[in-house]
């Protein structure tokens, strides 16, 4: 029952986000601020993780290629496929649910606890639009982060393969070009778009409707991470089923 009520509240919240817009002069500042908090400040951690995970994918692939008849370019091929299809869009999104999602929930939750949201409401401001809309717009730039992740993941795989002595540079480069299907990149970016929307709205819902005090802010951040991750995983499955099969 509570779950149904929450789903209803989530969609009512979404409908209110796109009504009674805040003036553009104020909104553009909010969007720039959110771009900095949600996108720019995530580049470092995403780059770091992508580079090393790309390296690990390459090493593990190389270690599993025991058969001498298997070409070494499969290391590059497997790295590219893993990074573009799953690692960059999905794995990074789950990490971002922890980083960006917790940030959104705790910042909105703190505003709720300290009555800052009530203060905005008393002033007659549409708090849904003022607080949540800039986050949605900022996360439209989320595919930019995923592009960086894809690039650095493959670079990480390349560095690990070459300096680990698993294959030659030419083999790896040949591998990442092997049977390249541009549609896979489109598929990755389509799901990235859905994940961005989930990343902006689900943590916002948990922060905005928070009840209680400081302890509840912590609990809401955890709950928000769990639900955002669950929704990302389920959405990933549905989109994969729809776009890659049949």
């Amino acid at each position: 029952m509570l779950l149904l009520q929450n789903i209803g509240s989530y969609f009512i919240m979404l409908s209110k986000v796109f009504t009674r817009f805040t003036s553009w002069s104020v909104m553009k500042e909010l969007i720039i601020k959110e771009l900095d908090s949600l996108i720019i400040r995530s580049i470092g951690i995403v780059s770091f993780i992508s580079f090393f995970v790309g390296g690990v994918v390459a090493i593990q692939t190389a270690l599993n290629l025991n058969n001498p008849f298997l070409p070494k370019n499969l290391i590059g091929f497997a790295t590219r496929q893993s990074v573009i299809l799953e690692f960059a869009p999905t794995f990074i999104s789950v990490i971002m649910a922890g980083k960006v999602g917790s940030y959104i929930t705790s910042s909105l939750g703190t505003m709720r606890v300290t009555e800052q949201i009530d203060a905005l409401q008393v002033m007659g401001i549409n708090t849904y639009n003022y607080l949540i809309f800039p986050k949605i717009i900022a996360l439209l730039f989320y595919p930019f982060i995923i592009t960086i992740s894809m690039f650095l993941g493959i670079i990480g795989g390349y560095v690990a393969s070459i300096y680990g002595g698993f294959c030659s540079s030419a083999d790896f480069i040949e591998g990442i070009q092997l049977d390249f299907i541009p549609y896979h990149v489109s598929y990755a970016f389509v799901k990235t778009g859905f994940f961005a929307f989930i990343l902006a709205t689900v943590p916002s819902f948990h922060g905005y409707f928070l009840k209680g005090g400081a302890l509840e802010v912590g609990k809401a951040s955890t709950t928000s991470f769990v639900w955002t991750s669950v929704l990302i995983i389920v959405t990933n499955y549905i989109i994969t089923q729809l776009l890659l099969t049949g």
């Binding site: 104020v26 009555e115 800052q116 409401q121 008393v122 007659g124």
Partner: protein, 254 residues
């Protein structure tokens, strides 16, 4: 003037406010007092329109809050100022930005006009050399002054204060009380204050509404509160030894 008529409010079937009728006068400091859980904050939030009500009416002059369209409610909100218990200042904004905020959001004034008006109210609430400071860099008393400045910057007709003295020392509390009283009289605002503070009751309680378990327990002024025979009000106001002695001295003088 705000008129409340037979207001009832419940949460999940539990009555929090029952049949409350009262009137808050223009140019006066109207206090809502009562024990924790008596429904003070709920009443204030109902008047503000943050909570819907089950039955009854709330009138701002002759305008019924319940019959207002979204646009009319929005206009009404522009006439309201609110000082929250914890000040509710925006952490990431400086004192000046906090005060300018309602004007930025709700008017088309130029930056110069907004700054000029902000400096006017900053001067009025005696905030000195704090314009560029963040709320975390100033004291609780100063935060309350910023909250008052933000609440009056739009020249509101109605000022609401939720426990404006909580967390303040007695001297600062008195200063804040007097500031609210002066502003109320100077701008002829209808001020509604939710408080626990007995000093406030004595100092600025021009009109007092006492709530008890969600019901109207008593109504009067700070002059009448000394003489009331109402046991609940007496027990609430004179719960400390100091106030018991004050009452005794007052009664002996009478």
């Amino acid at each position: 003037m705000i008129v409340v008529e037979k207001l009832c409010k419940s949460f999940n079937g539990v009555n929090v406010l029952t049949d409350i009728s009262t009137q808050f006068d223009k140019g006066k400091t109207n206090l809502i007092i009562g024990q924790s859980g008596s429904g003070k904050t709920v009443l204030l939030k109902c008047i503000l329109g943050l909570y819907g009500i089950d039955s009854g009416h709330i009138y701002f002059e002759d305008r019924s809050l319940q019959k207002m369209t979204i646009q009319e409610r929005s206009t009404l909100r522009h006439e309201m100022g609110m000082v929250f218990q914890g000040s509710a200042l925006f952490d990431s904004m400086t004192v000046e930005e906090n005060i300018i905020f309602p004007m930025r959001m709700l008017t088309k004034k130029s930056t110069e006009e907004m700054l000029s008006r902000a400096n006017e109210v900053i001067k009025r609430v005696n905030l000195i050399n704090s314009n560029k400071k963040l709320p975390s860099e100033i004291s609780g008393g100063m935060q309350k002054r910023v909250a008052i400045a933000r609440a009056i910057v739009m020249n509101p007709k109605y000022l609401f204060c939720d426990e404006p003295n909580s967390g303040l020392d007695p001297r600062t509390s008195t200063l804040i009380d007097n500031l609210i009283l002066e502003i109320t009289q100077e701008y002829q605002i209808t001020t509604v204050i939710n408080t626990h503070d007995m000093n406030s009751v004595m100092e600025i309680g021009e009109k007092i509404l006492f709530l008890e378990n969600g019901l109207k327990g008593w109504e009067g002024s700070n002059q009448e509160v000394f003489k009331t025979e109402n046991e609940s009000v007496g027990n609430f106001i004179y719960s400390s030894n100091l106030f018991k002695k004050v009452r005794k001295v007052y009664q002996e003088e009478d």
